[in-house]
């Protein structure tokens, strides 16, 4: 079978609490915490960006895969915060990993689903026998305008997945993508912060696509929600994924391990892939896992994975997501956060 041979994640150590952001803008933190089900979010260090996060996540994936990086024939980074508007993130990542020069590289952008997009293409290339191994990364240092609702969730982190045919940890049983032109959230060329359509991001955007892809892949594969051990849905906030999962027939218990948003925030392209990574950390052989991403604009990629026995051998070869999420946290106040995120106007 074709599937994931190695996976890994990376989260920065810095955090800001919902209370501190709410206080800055005169908002009631209890209402926000209740409404969005968020407590805190990750913040990239001054020296971290999509490239450095991708490198660290990929290093963890390589540790678990135990393969020679030189055998990776394709490397794709999905993000909506590539450090350069023109110049790939992937080339730096490939150099740092030692994947160059015989490799195909591309940066993807599709709002929050660029990560699963990178995974989808990586999987497709292995399946087409074009490359031995391919890596897909979803990573972001997400932007949210100061004072905007997104500022409570936009966070940093990422996950990397290496696809191959041998020593697979999680077989890909099926994939399905569901896409329409729906402008619910966007950022124009040159604009610093994204804009969004408020409540329009809900039913016509997130739910339509997540449920569309979810229902279709279940129908096509013939699996019922109860066949799955776990399910992960893109996490723009705490509430949406739980609502979507429930509508599809999943229980809170199935979603719980991948529902990392209350402590991590929404890492955009890294969101559902990192929830998936957290789930792989605890999944058992033969478990079925459903992963559904969502990217504004809008579309969803759905995957069904089946765990193999090998997961028990590789799991402990790199740091687990729960440990990254809960250990070594360094809290910033809003002023420090504004500096770290480049929200202060400076002289060149």
């Amino acid at each position: 079978m074709i599937g994931i041979v190695g996976y890994g994640s990376y989260l920065p150590r810095y955090r800001i609490k919902v209370e501190d952001i709410a206080h800055q803008w005169g908002r009631d933190s209890e209402t926000i915490k209740r409404g969005l089900l968020l407590k805190e979010k990750t913040v990239p260090g001054l020296d971290e960006d999509t490239i450095t996060i991708s490198v660290e996540a990929a290093k963890n994936a390589l540790k678990r895969a135990g393969i020679d990086p030189g055998e990776i024939g394709a490397l794709y980074i999905g993000s909506e915060s590539h450090p350069y508007a023109v110049k790939p993130s992937g080339t730096v990542v490939a150099e740092a990993l030692g994947v160059v020069p015989n490799v195909h590289i591309a940066d993807y952008e599709f709002a929050c689903k660029a990560g699963t997009e990178a995974m989808f293409v990586a999987y497709g290339l292995v399946k087409a026998d074009l490359v031995k191994y391919a890596m897909g990364v979803g990573a972001d240092t997400s932007q949210g305008a100061p004072g905007d609702a997104l500022e409570f969730s936009a966070s940093a982190g990422g996950s990397a997945f290496i696809f191959g045919k041998e020593d697979v940890v999680a077989d890909v049983l099926d994939t399905f993508s569901y896409t329409t032109d729906t402008p619910d959230f966007w950022r124009r060329e040159g604009a610093f912060y994204p804009l969004h359509g408020g409540r329009f991001t809900g039913i016509p955007a997130y739910f339509k696509h997540v449920l569309g892809a979810g229902k279709a892949i279940l129908e096509r594969s013939g699996y019922k929600p109860s066949d799955f051990a776990y399910a992960i849905f893109h996490m723009p906030n705490g509430k949406f994924p739980l609502t979507a999962g429930k509508k599809l027939g999943f229980t809170k218990e199935q979603m719980e391990p991948g529902w990392i948003v209350p402590l991590m925030g929404n890492t955009y392209s890294g969101s559902s892939p990192t929830g998936f990574s957290a789930t792989l950390d605890i999944a058992k052989p033969k478990d079925l896992i459903l992963l559904v991403s969502f990217g504004s604009g809008a579309g969803s990629d759905a995957f069904i994975f089946k765990m193999t026995d090998r997961i028990n051998e590789v799991r402990d070869k790199a740091e687990k997501l729960k440990s990254m999420l809960e250990n070594n946290r360094i809290y910033l106040d809003y002023g420090q956060y504004a500096k770290y995120r480049g929200k202060i106007i400076m002289n060149e």
């Binding site: 150590r13 810095y14 260090g45 001054l46 020296d47 971290e48 960006d49 490239i51 450095t52 490198v55 660290e56 290093k59 450090p83 350069y84 730096v92 150099e95 740092a96 990993l97 030692g98 070594n328 360094i330 500096k339 400076m346 060149e348």
Partner: protein, 129 residues
């Protein structure tokens, strides 16, 4: 000032590639053309370990222009497990967390940006473990 490409993209900066003398076994980082141990000119490729310990350290409070937004930042001479010493920033910690002998791990980070529009320079830094 723009940094030359050789300085940004050298494999040793991204991947800690080093050279091991075929004659005396001394590891050079960065790789050298002449071994500083025995004068030999023949080397094998090798890689520095990601793990090491602090030999000495300081915290920079007055920085050159491209680092001013980072102050105070800590810098250490780190001896990695194969005996090679490098100068590197130690990040994600407070200045008072550093001590001679403390263990560190090398990670991939942004070193600085050449202004808002220039090249972004990446390389190794250390974090306490």
């Amino acid at each position: 000032m723009p940094s030359p490409g050789y300085r940004r993209e050298m494999p040793q900066r991204y991947r800690l590639e080093a050279a091991k003398c075929k004659k005396c076994g001394k590891v050079s980082f960065p790789p050298r053309l002449v071994c500083s141990g025995c004068g030999s000119r023949e080397f094998d490729k090798t890689k520095l370990s990601d793990n090491g310990k602090i030999v000495t350290y300081t915290t920079i409070r007055v920085a050159p222009a491209q680092f001013t937004t980072q102050v105070p930042y800590s810098i250490a001479i780190v001896e990695v497990d194969n005996g090679v010493r490098i100068t590197t920033q130690v990040v994600d910690c407070k200045p008072e967390d550093l001590e001679i002998g403390k263990k560190v791990k090398l990670v991939f980070r942004k070193l600085y940006s050449e202004g808002h529009t220039g090249i972004i320079c990446y390389g190794y830094k250390a974090i306490l473990i």
